[in-house]
């Protein structure tokens, strides 16, 4: 089966001379959840904007479900729903009006029952007569999703869907995305939270300075790159790492006051082992702090590798 989205040699240089995308090739599989990771300004939004028709590529081609986004834009765009990063809504419109507007705009005949179903799924039904400006940020985000789903798209783009969203809504949203995938919708989301990609995605692509530097199955990527670090504040400073702990990947820091343990996400059982070994060796700790390698760290590593 052909890929639902095919991006070939896509380049984008803005009029200002800034090159946002360099020779991007990307294939999205039908029915998958694909997470596009990258720091701010990496080109995530530009890439999505071009696929969705908001911006134009300078060269290269993109197709959605086999339809070229330029020559067959009507068919291509009918397939796609977009939830942009910014919460841009018509302040004075009601939820009901704005979601129905979206459906009409995408060429679909009115279907009140379907819109009602979407609003109920997103817990917006009670708010259907509310004006957009009366809604909280989280509620607005839900309306944006309802608008994107209003025309029954086969492909859904979520640009930073959980930026500035509270934990509860984030969990709701993840649940909703899984539900959509079960209904056969292909989902492409961008994020700079690795946790989000880890939670949701089947595959992950990393974009940096306008180039896709890696596309991999999530599991493979996580085990390769997901590093964790545990920092132990010692009661008594150590001058060197005791031989009993030599099997662990340890570093002494700040004149021996801190012991840092670096390990892969997959080997978290090592932590318990380290702590019990330290206990046996009589090394006491005052405090501890664990951290995960951030996406930025991963980038640094990826760049160093190249």
């Amino acid at each position: 089966m052909p890929h639902i989205i095919q991006v070939k040699d896509l380049n984008k240089t803005y009029d200002s001379g800034f090159t946002a995308l360099r020779g991007v090739n990307l294939d999205i599989r039908r029915g998958e959840i694909f997470a596009l990771l990258g720091p701010n300004g990496a080109g995530k939004t530009t890439l999505i904007s071009i696929i969705c028709g908001i911006a134009r590529g300078s060269s290269g081609s993109v197709s959605a479900d086999g339809f070229d986004i330029a020559s067959d834009y009507r068919m291509a765009r009918t397939k796609i729903g977009l939830v942009p990063q910014e919460l841009t809504t018509d302040a004075f419109e009601t939820v009901w009006a704005t979601v129905n507007f979206s459906r009409g705009l995408f060429g679909k005949a009115p279907d009140k029952a379907y819109i009602e179903q979407i609003l109920k799924q997103l817990s917006l039904w009670d708010k259907r007569h509310a004006k957009m400006r009366e809604l909280s940020g989280g509620m607005k985000r839900r309306v944006m999703i309802a608008k994107a789903l209003s025309h029954e798209p086969e492909i859904l783009f979520l640009d930073e869907p959980t930026a500035g969203v509270d934990v509860e809504l984030r969990k709701d949203m993840w649940e909703m995305v899984r539900q959509l995938r079960e209904n056969g919708v292909t989902i492409i989301l961008t994020t700079h939270y690795i946790e989000e990609a880890e939670e949701m995605a089947d595959r992950i692509g990393v974009i940096r300075k306008g180039e896709i530097i890696l596309v991999e199955e999530k599991q493979a990527l996580m085990s390769k790159l997901g590093k964790k670090s545990l920092s132990l504040h010692l009661t008594e400073p150590l001058s060197e790492i005791p031989p009993t702990l030599s099997e662990f990947n340890l570093f002494l820091e700040e004149g021996g006051d801190y012991l840092r343990f670096e390990y892969e996400s997959a080997q978290s059982d090592q932590v318990a082992l380290l702590l019990s070994r330290m206990n046996e060796s009589g090394i006491a700790i005052k405090d501890l702090n664990s951290s995960e390698s951030s996406l930025e760290d991963i980038f640094v590593e990826l760049v160093q590798e190249q």
């Binding site: 009918t78 419109e93 060429g107």
Partner: protein
Amino acid sequence: MNIYGIMAIYKFEMARTFRTLMQSIASPVLSTSLYFIVFGTAIGSRMGEIDGVSYAAFIIPGLVMLSLLSESISNASFGIFFPKFSGTIYEVLSAPVSPFEIVAGYVGAAATKSVMLGLLILLTAKLFVDYTIVHPFWMLAFLVMTAVTFSLFGFIIGIWADDFQKLQVIPLMVITPLTFLGGAFYSINMLPEPWQTISLFNPVVYLVSGFRWAFYGVADVNVVLSLGMTTLFMVTCLVIISWIFRTGYRIRS
């Protein structure tokens, strides 16, 4: 053809009109009434007839045009400028609607509002002045053509403007003077040379003259010329708009 898409934009824009009824309809009607009281009744009663028409009746077509031009431009320019400004334009750009359909929705709604307004002003005028319309069909034709043409022009301004000041500058600095000097309140035949000839370079002269001809059967310039100039201006706007969509100028980077 994405009819649902056109209807969605059209209905959205019309809803905006009715939401801001005071601003969209009531205030132009009020200001036109003031013109009638001042120019029509108070000053007009001391003026002689022009081309066999009482001064109060003479200025009606010009006053309608004055409102029609400024409202068409402001409705259409704001209609497309605001989504651009607020960012909601993303949805229109990502939707399966052709440039023609986008223009039909926005410009259609703006022109509808202007025509409604023009008719409302004519009704208001009836309260102050007794007038007749010799060619009702052509009156309506000029009304609709002018509303569409200047809504197209407003659409261009709305795309071009990247701040609120630019949105105002053309209507204020160009259209208002051209309308006042376009024979809304006088016949250009009353002007001494060279002003009479200079006036012929003002496109509004042709609109007002043609429109007045539909009312009273008298015109400053030949009515065919009026029709031709209006069509020319409409075609020019259409050419500019098609260029805008072809190049993505200020809407699609």
